[in-house]
């Protein structure tokens, strides 16, 4: 999976959590929870959906470093060896 594909998968996972959100306006460097009003349950469900789409296991200890879309995509790219 390429980095672009990982980003697309991540956005699709987000759409399932916040279906009313306009993801086209999402900023990659601002915390997702702040932009989309996600609570802990939303964020857990989001990470589960990301895992299901990408196969990447995300330890709980890493949650704190995955606040923004850019951080998450970079993390997934590292884990999968994506270009």
């Amino acid at each position: 999976m390429t980095r672009d594909q990982l980003r697309a998968q991540t956005l699709e996972a987000l759409a399932g959590i916040a279906p009313e959100a306009d993801l086209g306006t999402l900023r990659g460097n601002i915390a997702l929870r702040d932009q989309l009003d996600l609570d802990s349950m939303d964020f857990l469900n989001f990470l589960v959906a990301v895992h299901q789409r990408t196969g990447v296991e995300i330890p709980e200890a890493d949650y704190g470093a995955l606040a923004t879309l850019d951080q998450l995509v970079a993390y997934l790219a590292r884990k999968t060896g994506a270009a």
Partner: protein, 396 residues
């Protein structure tokens, strides 16, 4: 032949609108089976039958609004046997909905195909109704084929696909929000008017609880990990067994203890507003099972798929606003309940323990309680029990 009544699906509900009959006269109904979809002022709720039998007669048609307690159907109770008489057909054309407080016309309900429940987000459902679109004609792109707002908007944007709206969609959406806010306000006004509330707070070091949870989660796959709120809910449930005066209802001038500890949880909706569905028999559930049930309950609440059993029977309520950065919750009791527990955010704070000052993860827990049912001494015991249980997470 018992009447099937418009149920009370929360203290803030005084009427309901029939949206869709899942059963028709002559149909068999099993205990726990969904019979009808009802719109309260706050949410669409699928109402289950508490007894088995046959649906003999529908008394209230789709689109009609009746008060809580009104008969909406007749059920012939009994085991699986055919009804002796021919079922009574539904009554003729519906009378106009009687919602005096609605400023804008009630959105026209789009009929679903017989026997089918269309999966759509509440926002998509309302938007489709506003635009006069039949959800059955739309293809969903959301999870499990659910129809999303984008699906509705895409369909509406197609030439000749969208008939003229009967009212401004934004106005109707605003009206629905206003209706929900009115329902919430009515319940809260009643609470402030009728309940002599007292408030207590305590700060609790949750380092042991979090360490235990982290250890538990390390061996779990992502989908089975548990959030700290599960520990809070379980601690409240067990503490309520120790101090039963906070678990129950104030009815007809007397305290009525709960028939178990059923913890109502405040769920905020993405489109605004709150619901308070309940987790039943909380002390009996493991933390893992409790969190799984809580997660499913929140998902049902936010996708508009709550059932009447989800929203009935709460004996005490918990609200957690830590995700919003709130330090302290000054909650309002949900009448006729007699207590509400609030959890703020878990934050690192200086905390002294046995003469040693350290930085600990701390949460502030508050209690709003009804002075008619308990006093500060018992309320304090209740909070102390929650704090003690959170120090010993293995016991939860």
């Amino acid at each position: 032949m018992p009447d099937f009544l418009m149920p009370s699906l929360g203290a803030d509900m005084d009427r309901g609108t029939i949206l869709h009959w899942h059963k028709q006269p002559g149909d068999r109904i099993e205990r726990g089976e969904i019979v009808v979809l009802v719109d309260t002022d706050k949410a669409e709720i699928e109402v289950e039958s508490w007894s088995a039998g046959w649906l003999d007669e529908v008394l209230v048609r789709e689109g009609e609004t009746v008060p809580v307690g009104a008969a909406i159907a007749r059920i012939r109770t009994g085991e699986a046997e055919q009804p002796s008489a021919a079922p009574t057909p539904p009554p003729p054309a519906p009378v106009p909905a009687t919602r005096p407080t609605l400023a804008a016309p009630t959105p026209k309900r789009v009929a679903a195909p017989a026997g089918a429940r269309i999966h759509a987000s509440p926002l998509a459902r309302r938007l489709a109704a506003d635009l006069g679109l039949d959800l059955a004609t739309l293809t969903g792109s959301g999870p499990e084929g659910a129809i999303t707002r984008e699906d509705v908007e895409r369909t509406a944007a197609r030439p000749a696909a969208a008939p003229p709206a009967t009212s401004p969609p934004a106005a109707v959406r605003a009206d629905k929000q206003a209706t929900m806010r009115s329902a919430i306000a009515a319940a809260m006004e009643r609470a402030h008017r009728e309940i002599p509330q007292y408030y207590l707070a305590t700060r609790v070091d949750v380092s042991r609880a979090l360490a235990w949870l982290t250890e538990q989660n390390e061996s779990r796959p992502l989908a089975e990990r548990v959030l700290p709120v599960a520990l809070f809910l379980k601690a409240v449930g067990k503490a309520a067994l120790e101090v039963p005066e906070v678990n129950g209802f104030w009815r007809d001038g007397a305290f009525v203890p709960g028939d178990g500890v059923h913890v109502g949880v405040i769920v905020s909706l993405r489109q605004g507003g709150i619901l308070a569905p309940a987790l039943h028999d909380v002390p009996r559930m493991s933390v893992t099972a409790l969190f799984a049930e809580f997660r499913a309950l929140v998902a049902r609440a936010r996708s508009g798929k709550l059932r009447s059993s989800d929203v009935a029977g709460g004996t005490i309520t918990v609200t957690s606003l830590g995700d919003q950065g709130v330090e302290t919750v000054f909650g309002v009791i949900m009448p006729p309940q007699v207590a509400l527990v609030g959890f703020g955010r878990i934050s690192e704070q200086p905390f002294a323990d046995h003469g040693l000052l350290g930085v600990k993860p701390v949460v502030e827990i508050t209690l709003s309680a009804d002075h008619r049912a308990s006093d500060g001494h018992r309320g304090g015991r209740f909070l102390a029990a929650i704090a003690r249980l959170l120090q010993d997470p293995e016991s939860l």
